[in-house]
């Protein structure tokens, strides 16, 4: 299977919700091959505007297509939820 690609938008990287989302995501995807770009919208509000981010944590899967969007801290998520 080709490499999966994810963009994760967080509102600050040190708060509990952001940390939880990141660790839950990594846990769910532990057995697959993926790229993850993390964007802190506190530092990049213009990116949030362009991507239309409203709720956070916000995840976009660009590969494999079609593009999918997810929100939440991804607690209790399995790999199948994202792929």
């Amino acid at each position: 299977m080709s490499k999966a690609r994810f963009l994760l938008f967080l509102a600050g990287s040190n708060n509990l919700k952001s940390k939880r989302a990141l660790s839950n995501l990594k846990e769910s995807l532990r057995n697959i091959n993926y790229d993850l770009t993390i964007i802190d919208i506190l530092n990049n509000p213009q990116v949030a505007e362009q991507a239309g981010v409203i709720a956070t944590p916000f995840l976009i899967r660009t590969l494999p297509g079609p593009t999918r969007r997810f929100i939440g801290d991804f607690s209790n998520s399995e790999k199948d939820f994202f792929i």
Binding site: R20, G52, A55, F58, F70, I71, D73, F74, S77
Partner: protein, 481 residues
């Protein structure tokens, strides 16, 4: 108590209604049925800030795309693009996108929204913010308690930014029925309600301030209209025109024979009602006065709601009055409208703007009975008060005609109320006198002045109206006065 400042709203008439404008650095909820003018109100509020106080504004749109808003507002003559280029206007676009579906798992908040708003406000140093319409968030996100919590957080964010904000909400049911939305009512210090309702068979737009926490405001609904090129205009009547002092200078009525009866003429800035039965010569007397006032060098406008331009020109020609020449000389304007073609609010606004641009000394309105047909009595009266006030403030003499519908009534109930607004009333009546039908003219009232108390007989012939002598002795049967 803290002294709360109000800032100019940018909406014509709203600052009178609200006694100063929108409370500064607070959140105001603008609630209304679909199509009641909420978005237009918001756009005018931001433009008002830019134009009146040099304050930049942020428009957070949840339904329409920024492109659509820009296009729609062009219809009202509002050029948003211009303000965007000059850095006075910023959009935050929360409107639906094609790729908008998402899956939810676990806890989330609306930090994305709050960060974007914060960023836009700081980027242009905005002082005014509108959110139109925030209720969309309740449909977008499944967890209502999160949305409620985030709206409270958003409010404190706006507070820390020291901006004055308006949030809008669609109102489908009677106020307060839907519990999701109570949060908005709860977080807002101020609530304004816009409605577009059917009242006595006529559509009527109204605005009402339901709550202005700790700040004085006027109570009750006011009518408003949304006009091309001008946006929302509120028809507010803040005081009774009778309370404004009358000027003491008199002007000839325009028809010399009437001047004596009127104690010398009409007062500047007064409203005169000519009430008469069908066929008593109201239009003729109006034309004769018009002719005289034009010859005395007064600029005049005639608003006609019953006859076409051609009919009036022809009638005038029959009495050797050349209205077209007066028009060409720039001292006369004739406006013939079929009142059914628009609402009364729109009509009044239109009359006012014609008066403002032509600056007449005197206006003739033939007849206000035609206006009464197109609206409910309440709106009719409000609109007339508004017009009378405007006339008084602009120092114009206004002559209105009204048709008394039957032979037995001097005034029907409605006209009775209107008559209290007029400064002077001239009655034209049929009388039976010594077995003959005659016409009589009388002054029913003239505020602050002596005037003839007699009914005076007059005749109409090809020379015009001839005022004869007071009617003496017993007169009657048509008369119930």
């Amino acid at each position: 108590m803290k002294n709360i400042k109000k800032i100019p709203s940018g909406i014509d008439g709203f600052d009178t209604l609200s006694m100063g404008g929108i409370p500064e650095k607070r959140m105001t909820l603008l609630s209304g049925t679909p199509g009641s003018g909420k978005s237009t109100f918001c756009v005018q509020f931001l433009i008002g800030g830019i134009e009146l106080s040099n304050e930049p504004g942020v428009f957070i749109t949840f339904e329409e795309s920024p492109e659509d808003i820009i296009i729609n507002m062009k219809d009202f003559g509002l050029d948003i693009q211009k303000y965007k280029y000059s850095g006075f206007w910023e959009f935050v676009d929360i409107s639906p996108r094609i790729e908008d579906d998402f899956l939810v798992r676990g806890d989330y908040d609306l930090s994305g929204l709050i960060i974007r708003i914060n960023d836009a406000v700081q980027k242009i140093n905005a002082k005014r913010v509108v959110l139109d319409s925030i209720a969309v968030l309740f449909n977008k996100f499944p967890d209502k308690s999160i949305v409620r919590k985030e709206i409270i957080r958003l409010k404190s964010c706006l507070k820390s930014l020291s901006v004055t904000s308006i949030i809008t909400m669609e109102q489908y049911e009677e106020f307060g029925k839907d519990s999701h939305y109570n949060i908005l009512d709860f977080v807002s210090d101020n609530v304004i309600l816009l409605q577009n309702t059917i009242f006595e068979e006529h559509r009527r737009r109204t605005i009402e301030i339901l709550k202005y926490r700790g700040v004085p405001h006027k109570k009750g609904r006011e009518s408003f209209t949304i006009k091309k090129n001008e946006g929302i205009i509120i028809i507010s009547f803040e005081r009774n025109p009778n309370e404004l002092p009358l000027r003491r200078e008199r002007k000839s009525t325009g028809y010399i024979e009437l001047d004596d009866m009127m104690g010398g003429g009409f007062f500047q800035g007064s409203s005169i009602l000519i009430s008469g039965q069908t066929g008593t010569g109201k239009t003729l007397i109006t034309l004769l006065m018009l002719d005289g006032s034009l010859k005395n060098g007064e600029k005049c406008i005639m608003f006609n709601f019953e006859e076409s331009r051609e009919q009036i020109l022809q009638k005038a020609r029959n009495w050797d009055i050349d209205l077209e020449r007066a028009e060409n000389e720039g001292i006369f304007m004739m406006s013939c409208t079929y009142p059914e073609s628009q609402g009364i609010e729109e009509l009044i606004v239109d009359m006012k703007s014609k008066i403002q641009s032509f600056r007449p000394d005197r206006i003739y309105i033939d007849s206000i009975s035609a206006l009464e047909r197109i609206t409910s009595y309440l709106t009719f009266r409000q609109s007339l008060i508004n017009l009378f006030l405007f006339i008084r403030e602009n120092d114009i003499i206004a002559i209105f005609t009204t048709t008394t519908p039957t032979f037995s009534d001097h005034f029907n109930k409605e006209m009775g109320h209107i008559s209290t607004l007029a400064d002077a009333i001239i009655l034209l009546r049929y009388f039976e006198h010594d077995g003959l039908m005659t016409r009589g003219i009388g002054i029913l009232k003239m505020r602050d002045s002596n005037h003839s108390k007699h009914f005076i007989e007059y005749t109409i012939d090809n020379q015009g109206i001839k005022i004869l002598k007071p009617i003496e002795g017993r007169i009657g049967i048509f008369d119930s006065f």
